[in-house]
């Protein structure tokens, strides 16, 4: 059926659950069934059922499984992307708390569909490349960088997926020999992506005094700093 253009709304307000304000005869009048009947010559319009398409005779299978298999209940849940903290907006400087780049101050670009945050150093400033980071391992500061000159539409989770490794044949005599010699080099187009994203960013970073050295420095807790009292 075509979706309804107006939502179904009842013309019979509820007084209490199970008790409507208007009686059956009043509702008949309200719904205008008398007008529909009058238009159709005293009889309520009837539509013949649509002719069913002739279905091919189903072949009855001769095989039945011996035991009843339990079918799991259908799961129609859809995962929502992680809710982004209100303090984190595109252009916010974030402090990464864990992993290889812990303590680094980094610029937030956008949230990907998986919920992870797309982030860049910029690479020239502090060595952090275009990277995904989980919101839980990040502190949002109140410092914002102007990110309007940067185009991040082409980056999504597929961009960061690991390149499919060639399957080695089973007959490997020497482990970790010539195979692992070729380190995984970053493809040139990823390096170029980094350069284009960073070029616009670095310009807006250099517009603010001290911001570049701020991003180059790592964050650390010093004596007397109480994280629950600090304003980031």
């Amino acid at each position: 059926m075509a979706p309804r253009k107006t939502p179904v709304v009842s013309r019979n307000p509820q007084l209490i659950r199970g008790v409507g304000k208007y009686s059956r005869s009043k509702m008949y009048h309200k719904r205008g069934l008398w007008a529909i009947k009058a238009k159709n010559g005293g009889v309520f319009p009837k539509h013949d059922p649509k002719p069913k398409a002739a279905s091919t005779a189903e072949k009855v299978s001769k095989f039945y499984p011996a035991d009843d298999i339990k079918v799991p209940l259908p799961n129609k849940r859809k995962a929502k992307p992680t809710k982004l903290r209100a303090s984190i907006t595109p252009g916010t400087v974030l402090i990464i708390l864990a992993g290889r780049f812990k303590g680094k101050r980094v610029v937030f670009l956008k949230q990907l569909t998986s919920g992870l945050l797309l982030v860049t150093g910029p690479f020239k400033v502090n060595g952090v490349p275009l990277r995904r980071v989980n919101q839980a391992y990040v502190v949002g500061t109140s410092t914002k960088v102007d990110i309007s000159g940067v185009n991040v539409d082409k980056f999504d989770d597929k961009y960061f997926a690991k390149a499919a490794e060639k399957k080695n044949k089973k007959g490997e005599g020497e482990f970790f020999e010539a195979d692992k010699e070729e380190k995984n080099e970053l493809p040139q187009d990823k390096k170029d992506d980094q350069k284009t994203v960073d070029a616009a960013l670095i310009k807006s970073i250099e517009a603010v005094p001290d911001l570049k050295s701020y991003l180059a420095a790592r964050f650390s807790l010093k004596a007397g700093m109480k994280p629950h009292e600090l304003v980031f």
Binding site: T143, S213, E229, V231
Partner: protein
């Protein structure tokens, strides 16, 4: 020896505990041995225990329980705000508030400024040392 700051009508005090922590208020009446009626331009007149107050040096001229308008006029006339912000106690509180509101970037800039200042001081010191050594 002896007390210098007295509880009296017109004494300005700082609230040091509770919902209105940090507010400057004027003692407008005394309820009993433990409580005073206090008032301030930005709060509803209410009673408060003396234990929650710290008296300041500032005192203004008012009658017992003045109208809010009269109170505000008297506070302006005595320039309570100015006296407070220029007193060493008031200045220390303001510095504390400013430091607590620094963001991470501000703290970084502060660190750079301190290093720069230290460098300049050390330069001058080196100069002076050279002069006295010579």
């Amino acid at each position: 020896m002896g007390f210098k700051r007295y509880v009296e009508i017109g004494r300005v005090a700082l609230i040091n505990y509770g919902k209105d922590y940090g507010k400057l208020v004027v003692i407008v009446d005394v309820v009993d041995q433990n409580r005073a009626l206090v008032d301030s331009p930005d709060m509803v007149r209410s009673q408060i225990n003396f234990k929650r107050l710290t008296l300041t040096d500032i005192k203004i001229e008012i009658n017992r329980t003045p109208k809010k308008k009269t109170l505000i006029e008297a506070m302006e006339k005595a320039d309570v705000k100015g006296k407070w912000e220029n007193s060493s106690w008031g200045r220390k509180l303001i510095v504390k508030q400013r430091r607590a509101a620094l963001t991470d970037f501000d703290r970084f800039k502060l660190m750079l400024a301190k290093i720069k200042r230290g460098g300049l001081i050390r330069q001058e010191l080196a100069k002076l040392k050279k002069e006295t050594a010579a």
